[in-house]
Symmetry: C2
Subunit: 141 residues, 2 copies
DNA sequence: ATACTTGCAAAAGATTTGCCGCATG
DNA sequence: CATGCGGCAAATCTTTTGCAAGTAT
């Protein structure tokens, strides 16, 4: 059983056959496609279709929405017209996107997290969520 | 003549009647609607229509795209389905979005800018662009 | 004349939804 | 039985584009 399936049970999200396939595909995302994998709905649909070609793209849309609202996966809107998804992780991370080839590098930086909290507080707000994306090009050596 | 019109001339962007109206509306955005103003295309179209109701929304789309590519205005994709725009400023700033009412607070923080540069460099990238959005709720006193 | 702009409506791309049959508790 | 779920196609929403006519250089 996949990690995401586990989390669904914890959160009381009902697991149908279709959802199990989608959960499995999401769970195996980085394992199979590398740490830079952040598939969009179309890509997810292609992958689940390999397992069960009857699953419609509408179901994929409905499921990622459900999983996102349950905090099980995360949606990102990088500078394209569509959303990309990844399984939620225990430790929050941010993204650096290679502007030349679209590669996504994940990073964790405690200092920047604290700083964001400090800024929000200074402005009179409680920080609930945040988005930090760096866009850059590879330095050649 | 509006500030944005000025910048168009500097950059060699041709100024048609329609573009002048759109430039004016963008220039007066924060002056007229407050520092929290980041209108979307639909809102811009409404505002330019008050000046000249013949201007089509397609022209507004084409013009904001042009202005954005020229660096004269900036596009933001906050967590909604559509883009919002604001005139470019000399000093870079980021945004805090009130999750309860959608209000946008702008802020500048040198420290966080430096930190981002440092992170990109450490990862072997030259930082070209970045996006930082904080989402929070107002602290009551 | 040549190249750029615009308005209109149609097209496109991503996402949502109505309907209805099907599955599940 | 009652509620929720999934497939399909149609609808929606934002944004882009083809075309023909108009404008500027």
């Amino acid at each position: 059983m996949s990690k995401i399936e586990d989390k669904c049970k914890e959160k009381g999200v009902r697991l149908t056959d279709q959802r199990k396939v989608i959960a499995k595909v999401m769970s195996e995302s980085k394992m199979t496609y590398g740490s830079k994998d952040h598939p969009d709905v179309d890509e997810l649909h292609k992958r689940v279709s390999l397992v069960d070609k009857k699953i419609s793209i509408a179901t994929v849309y409905r499921t990622v929405k459900l999983l996102e609202e349950s905090g099980i996966i995360e949606r990102h809107d990088f500078k394209e017209g569509k959303s990309r998804y990844e399984p939620s992780t225990d430790e929050h991370h941010d993204h650096l996107i290679d502007i030349n080839n679209g590669e996504i590098i994940e990073f964790v930086d405690k200092e920047i997290e604290e700083l964001q909290n400090k800024i929000a507080t200074k402005l009179g707000y409680k920080l609930v969520d945040h988005k930090l994306e760096l866009y850059g090009s590879k330095i050649k050596k």
